[in-house]
């Protein structure tokens, strides 16, 4: 149960980025979580709601993209989604493969709403 710590890191990333967009309200943060990242998306949502409730981030939406467990064949280069932990390349049947997906734990993007599109403050350089 380390989802609370992860939720706090996500919120810190959002707050850090939000500072670069004064006058705009963060609306949605996009995460990529691998199937094998050992993170439970529902527990993370629960924790995220708990730490943003009654704060300025209460309306921030959490969008989670689940990334499948993927291998690349080291012989023929074919990339495939691993089904039932079968690491054999479906194209050339070689067993030498490397993991290229499924362990992601990334903040992909932040969507901000521009309240004052014409406000000079939002575009001022730092």
């Amino acid at each position: 149960m380390h989802e609370m710590g992860i939720a706090c890191e996500v919120l810190a990333a959002v707050r850090g980025e939000a500072k670069r967009h004064p006058g705009n309200t963060p609306r949605k943060v996009g995460l990529r979580i691998g199937e094998l990242a050992a993170v439970d998306p529902e527990a993370l949502r629960f924790c995220f709601e708990a730490i943003t409730r009654d704060t300025d981030m209460e309306s921030l939406e959490l969008e989670i993209e689940i990334c499948p467990f993927r291998f690349r064949c080291l012989s023929c280069g074919h990339e495939f989604v691993v089904q039932n932990y079968d690491s054999q390349c479906p194209q050339c049947a070689d067993m030498k493969t490397e993991c290229i997906g499924g362990q992601e734990l990334d903040v992909a993007y932040l969507e901000v709403e521009d309240h004052e599109p014409s406000a000079a403050g939002a575009k001022s350089t730092q």
């Binding site: 149960m1 380390h2 992860i6 810190a12 094998l36 050992a38 903040v107 993007y109 932040l110």
Partner: protein, 226 residues
């Protein structure tokens, strides 16, 4: 609505500290190993056997993590090597900051091998890089041969699987071949050792593995000279 790409790791701060630790370990030629397992799989017993068999002049140290108590540190201190307990107070894993903090008053220049015994948990520790050269997962035969399939993340990220308590094989319905097959389904290149900390079986192979890894680590200065 304006979408701003962030493209950063959620645990980027932990990863930053871990990268600093890894650079320091490399600079001083320290082999750092992160031991992970369920509670009660025998991480501490494996370390006891390891410390017991090492010459006293070996430059070895241990950080051992638990949610509460310093029982493990007390067990491991008996062998005369520096041992420090990390008590997390509830946190279910060690993170790089905890390691950094507990290493603060140790000199890495006087160290060749650092064991980090993580909090007993097959899930959360897999997400946190501690700057180690390798993660090692310990699985005991009383736990069931399907653990690699149930907790794939840690088996995917660990270089070595230590199958412990093999002395109990006659008494438990554990299918060793299935365990090995399951581990290799998740991580085809995984190295696997079978040991018993009670009888000592397989410990020689474990010590050989350690020595092999230790010799592969050389301080940067030494590499430059040779």
């Amino acid at each position: 609505m304006n979408r701003v790409p962030l493209e950063q790791k959620v645990l980027s701060e932990n990863d930053r500290v871990a990268a600093e630790l890894r650079a320091r370990f490399r600079e001083h030629g320290v082999l750092c190993l992160n031991l992970i397992s369920s509670p009660g799989s025998g991480k501490t017993s494996l370390l006891e056997c390891t410390l017991e068999s090492l010459p006293r002049d070996r430059r070895v140290a241990v950080l051992t993590g638990d949610i509460q108590t310093d029982n493990d540190a007390a067990r491991l201190k008996r062998f005369g090597f520096p041992v420090k307990q990390i008590t997390t107070g509830g946190t279910c894993h060690l993170d790089a900051r905890m390691v950094e903090r507990h290493l603060a008053d140790w000199s890495l220049a006087n160290m060749d091998l650092l064991f980090i015994e993580n909090v007993g948990n097959l899930v959360c520790p897999s997400s946190y890089d501690l700057g180690e050269a390798a993660k090692i997962v310990v699985l005991s035969v009383t736990e069931g041969e399907d653990k690699p399939l149930k907790y794939p993340s840690i088996f995917l990220k660990s270089e070595l699987l230590v199958l412990n308590k093999i002395d109990l094989l006659p008494y438990v319905p554990f299918d060793m071949n299935a365990a090995v097959e399951n581990a290799r389904r998740v991580h085809p290149a995984m190295e696997i050792l079978k040991v018993s900390c009670l009888t000592g079986k397989g410990l020689h192979e474990w010590l050989v593995w350690l020595e092999h890894r230790r010799r592969a680590i050389k301080p940067v200065e030494t590499e430059a000279v040779t």
